[in-house]
Symmetry: C2
Subunit: 414 residues, 2 copies
């Protein structure tokens, strides 16, 4: 019996999450006997709760193909975590009600571990409510912190952006070290797991290359050791490049970026980790410095996306549809690494119960003894993920964008 | 009579200044009867003063060719402005002495208006000291603030980086606006002239596209008008993207980034313009926001260089050598715009006296009435400069770098 498919994006978007959406829509067309329409949630799961379902069949073929080139989440995403079934049964009932009204038989939820949890819960409650629904979670997170999967779509592209930016900015700083900036600090995302910060290490090709210090959220920030290492590096090489995770914490476990610290002038300082560290370097070492905070630039840099990452993102979308067609329920297509070099991978299915709400941090074996660097084991893991330059189409010097129609399905409920 | 050529990079480096260096070295080889060796100053003009001359003939052909792909200044640059001849004649005498010791007949100085001034002074003093020296300045500055030339090599690539980054990050913010970030602020370079901030406008393709507000250093920062516009834009579109020059000032003429402002908690705030504005938006409008400071990333992003810019950078290098061969002295090869669309340009020579120490700000006719936007006249100027994607070579997912030898010429002086 033909059913409609509901796809939603969840949480922070990435450079390649739309590629996953494109793969879902394209793959669904291959099963015309089972799948009628593909609806996308307007602003993610909120679209289901508000009965705002974007009818993707109204989009042109060219637009669907162009999704692979478009960063951000074209149907809208959201930060909205459904409460537990005990706490808010009504919300789950509403979801099922909307799905029922629009004849949804397949629910594909594209996000991180929260979304895996939601998809898991919805699959359970739909059984209890006797509404047959196939629930598949599709991995996506720049943080690379999902369990079971070898890596997460979205991460490889951020890693490539960070490594390239560190390489480029370091060449700049190195040029100017004699009479200008000695220390450059780049703040990157990854509040709880240091995968993105670690990827900065990929910029290093020779021993003394930047980055010289990587600050990971997995370790306590040791101010003295940090300053000593900056000082030593500048003395030795004339400059020092630091990659810092936004999530580094002091010994009380408080985020550095939120800590109330006074600078040399007795002023309290708020804001990011990079300006905090820059201020330390200025006031304690009196070294000229610059800092950058890439923020959303890093996770939306489709122009520099990793082709490996793009392929992962498309494959998990495709397999999510296939798994649904095979009647699998409560699973996620995950990336399985078969070989490091040359890199080989495949897609496998994993039960959502193993993924929901689990956070995968950087393993200890990936972190060097001094805590400021990545081991060769870690580098072996990271290297293949940034390989390949995903094709990008430009018009008039800018990435080309096609405009979506975003037509909503007619509301059935009041 | 064969003479050596001395080339030096000056001031902040760019994504394409090495392309100029490569063009100088390559063009010089075409005049074997006039030019013997091309020396590059180690760390710019400091290399001349310290008698540290890099012998570029020791570099491989492949390395010289690869200069077009390498950001930063490979021979080193510096922030060092020679004083006036009256104040420090000794320094100019030292320069001439080093040039004499190494048989330098041509001095090519690659920088901004300070460097044009230095090249001009050196050309004058060499005549007075009866040491024949041909002095040519070569334009370079991401700030695009040189007089006479239509645009400055280095600017087009920053403009392309800023426009692309604004486009990409805006798609991200737009996706999340329903439940997350409403306001995104990107701080860009350009302390005194708003060319780089203005280039953010290139990201806009349709009327309501980002960026919604551009803050230029040419205009006083009006906090109330800014906040009103942010509020209005969020009410209308659900989100607001701001591009802010690092050089915006308050009504006292003080840089915002250096101003001593208190946040909602009474804490003084230091640091960049973006965190300052973000704090305003949080405390006055209570809107969730994110901010980015691209800093050196923007001027070293060779991976996203404008091909137009790269061609400009190579052409000015080539013509600098040709002008020197033609016996021209105290001039700069400048870019002349022949036509906007399709863009056509050529190289012309301009006397350094017209360029030295002049700063070209964004003309009033390029700024919209409300001060937050760029006029169509401004857009017509900017558009061609970001066109074309300069080729980039990758290896293992990262821009490929060849290592220079950087062999110094034997010192002749003590």
């Amino acid at each position: 019996m033909k059913k409609n498919l509901f796809y939603a994006q969840s949480g922070g978007v990435t450079a390649v999450i739309n590629a996953t959406a494109g793969a879902v829509i394209t793959e669904a067309k291959k099963f015309p006997k089972q799948i009628n329409k593909v609806y996308a949630g307007r602003n993610g799961i909120l679209g289901a709760l508000n009965e705002e379902l974007i009818d993707t069949s109204k989009e042109s073929k060219a637009f669907i193909e162009s999704l692979q080139f478009r960063p951000g989440g074209v149907f809208g995403s959201c930060r909205y975590k459904l409460k537990s079934i005990e706490e808010n049964l009504g919300e789950y009932q509403r979801l099922i009600e909307v799905f029922k009204a629009h004849d949804i038989g397949y629910f594909l939820y594209n996000g991180g571990n929260d979304s895996a949890d939601t998809a898991f819960k919805v699959s359970q409650i739909s059984q209890k409510m006797d509404y047959p629904l196939t629930c598949i979670a599709i991995p996506k997170t720049v943080d690379n912190d999902l369990a079971v999967t070898d890596s997460c779509p979205g991460f490889g592209s951020v890693a490539k952006y960070v490594a390239t930016s560190v390489q480029e900015a370091s060449l700049d700083v190195q040029s100017m070290r004699e009479s200008s900036t000695k220390v450059f600090i780049m703040e990157v995302m990854g509040r709880h797991a240091g995968w993105i910060a670690a990827s900065g290490a990929l910029a290093r090709q020779n021993k003394n290359d930047a980055p010289h210090i990587i600050l990971l959220p997995e370790l306590m920030f040791d101010q003295k050791k940090f300053l000593d290492t900056v000082k030593h590096t500048v003395a030795k090489l004339g400059f020092c490049v630091v990659v810092a995770s936004e999530g580094i914490r002091n010994k009380k476990g408080k985020f550095i970026a939120e800590s109330d610290t006074r600078d040399a002038f007795g002023h309290a300082q708020l804001g990011g980790v990079a300006p905090f560290l820059a201020n330390l370097v200025s006031s304690k070492l009196n070294l000229k410095n610059h800092w950058a905070v890439a923020d959303y630039l890093q996770r939306s840099a489709r122009h520099l996306a990793s082709d490996t990452d793009l392929q992962h993102a498309q494959a998990v979308g495709k397999f999510a549809v296939r798994y649904a067609m095979q009647g699998m329920n409560g699973v996620m297509p995950v990336i399985k690494r078969l070989q490091d070099n040359p890199y080989r991978w495949s897609i496998a299915s994993a039960p959502l119960s193993k993924i929901a709400n689990v956070e995968k941090k950087l393993p200890k074996s990936f972190i060097s003894k001094d805590g400021f660097n990545i081991t060769s084991k870690g580098m072996t893991y990271l290297r293949p993920l940034i390989r390949g330059e995903a094709k990008c189409v430009y018009v008039n010097g800018l990435p080309k964008l096609l405009e979506p129609k975003l037509v909503l399905a007619k509301k059935q409920l009041t």
